[in-house]
């Protein structure tokens, strides 16, 4: 609001308007308002109920006993002022004008002897004025509460996490699922039958390859670990045969009964 030349708050407490920095402490009794302030002043109203409430409060009228003739007259004067100044006049203002005049005329009719409150033509208007007033005050109270972003900020300090890179976890099920999915695709031509035995052969194939990875010959015997039992010996042997079959290793023997040597397939390392 700081930049505004004219700030008006007819609903405010002390001063009613700031006109070019000068506080206006009360709205002049009649309709006299500095012309350029009038426009802003009129635009400040949120609608006919707001305007009516203003008129009632300004005149310090008992809201339960609204002098309809006087209020209607003033209301119409404001509406006329708005029209005169070519302010965009919402249809609601005219609807309200009609309603006020209707109430006024009904009050002029001779009254039956016992008037109950419900029959007071003003009752509905008063109810609406009170409800609007209540919400208007509630709005001011809400606005007075500290508001995030305007009056305070939430704290969220930087979370330092560069030290720890979070890597995806994989578990055995994931692998199994992935494998199953592969198999479910019809393009797997041959059935990849993987059994425990085959897996352990494959594991030993990898082991032998690692063993030979430094290059050069290893003695056949060195590839076996007899202390791990016969089954491991057999599997290692199967692994070696498979490696030979896949031409991943070469097995050589100079002549019968001399040591057997194993090395990575020739071309594999040397080309």
């Amino acid at each position: 609001m700081s930049g505004d030349v004219v700030t008006l708050r007819p609903e405010g407490a002390q001063r009613i308007a700031l006109v070019r920095g000068e506080p206006v402490m009360e709205i002049p009794a009649d309709l006299y308002i500095p012309p350029d302030a009038l426009e802003v002043f009129l635009e400040t109203f949120q609608g006919p109920l707001d305007l009516l409430l203003y008129l009632i409060r300004k005149a310090n009228i008992d809201i339960l006993d609204i002098p309809m003739a006087r209020v209607t007259e003033q209301y119409l004067a404001y509406v006329e002022a708005m029209r005169h100044r070519n302010l965009e006049l919402a249809a609601e203002y005219l609807v309200m004008a009609a309603m006020l005049m209707e109430i006024k005329s009904r009050l002029l009719l001779p009254r039956p002897k016992h008037v109950t409150e419900e029959e007071d033509p003003r009752a509905e208007l008063v109810r609406r004025l009170l409800e609007y007033e209540r919400m208007k005050l509630a709005a001011q109270k809400l606005d007075a509460l500290p508001q995030r972003g305007r009056d305070f900020a939430a704290i969220g300090v930087w979370i330092e996490q560069t030290m720890v890179e979070r890597l995806p976890d994989v578990n055995v099920r994931d692998l199994e699922n992935a494998w199953r999915h592969l198999l479910s695709l019809a393009r797997v031509r041959q059935h990849h039958k993987v059994t425990r035995e085959e897996l352990s052969v494959r594991e030993h194939m990898t082991g032998i390859l690692r063993n030979l990875a430094e290059g050069g010959f290893r003695e056949f015997n060195e590839l076996f670990e007899p202390w791990r039992g016969v089954s491991v010996l057999v599997i290692t042997f199967l692994a070696l045969l498979e490696l030979v079959r896949e031409r991943l290793v070469e097995v050589t023997q100079a002549e019968p009964y001399t040591p057997i040597y194993v090395k990575l397939a020739q071309h594999a390392e040397s080309e």
């Binding site: 409430l53 007033e133 509630a138 809400l142 508001q147 009056d151």
Partner: protein
């Protein structure tokens, strides 16, 4: 096993790092649920008082606990970042108040109370702030959307529940007996524009009467 001070340090760290309010159930996960909700609550209370002299405070909101700056420090903060959060117009605030106090409410309800058309922008402003949302549709022609306030609204205004909203002004009370009551129990003098009436305006009472039909 962690000692209470270590637990407090961890709670403090987690809450300082979390941008949004954290419920106690969530905080317990810090300790793999090995620390009871009561203990956590007690330590949070301690933390809150540990921070009571600082520019930042620990508050308990609708959706959990959060550290936030104290409004008293806002004017310093504003010097550093000059762009101020915009204030909402009266139209937006009145619409918000009606939704907050009369929820769930349709646009028609709001227009009925305010006496003017509610522009879609007003609703959009409140929705984009995530302060209101649609909670259903009224079973009337057009099936209009029913709006209600969200937990974010409570969080952003530092409230734990709708019950902590400022009480509605009991406008009628003070005039009791003066006039035959209308549909509304006797209405009092409305706070006049120029200065609050003595007495009447002070300490608004909680609204207890049932909604007007």
């Amino acid at each position: 096993m962690l000692n209470p001070n270590e637990v407090k340090t961890i709670l403090e760290t987690a809450l300082l790092a979390a941008q949004d309010p954290v419920p106690i159930a969530q905080l317990r996960k810090l300790f793999d649920d090995e620390i009871g909700a009561d203990t956590v609550r007690r330590l949070l209370d301690e933390l809150r008082s540990d921070w009571s002299e600082r520019g930042v405070q620990l508050v308990n909101l609708a959706t959990g606990w959060r550290f936030q700056t104290r409004p008293e420090f806002q004017h310093y903060m504003e010097r550093m970042s000059p762009e101020k959060a915009p204030r909402y117009s009266r139209a937006v605030l009145e619409t918000l108040a009606i939704i907050a106090y009369r929820q769930p409410a349709t646009r028609g309800d709001i227009e009925e109370i305010r006496g003017v058309t509610v522009s879609p922008n007003i609703i959009k402003t409140l929705e984009s702030r995530n302060w209101i949302d649609v909670v259903g549709h009224r079973d009337t022609p057009g099936r209009p959307a029913l709006y209600a306030t969200t937990k974010t609204f409570l969080d952003d205004l530092g409230l734990r529940s709708l019950e902590e909203l400022p009480p509605l002004e009991e406008i009628s009370k003070s005039l009791e007996g003066t006039q035959a009551p209308l549909a509304e129990p006797a209405a009092g003098p409305i706070e006049p524009a120029a200065g609050p009436p003595a007495g009447a305006g002070e300490g608004p009472e909680v609204e207890t009467e049932p909604q007007q039909a």
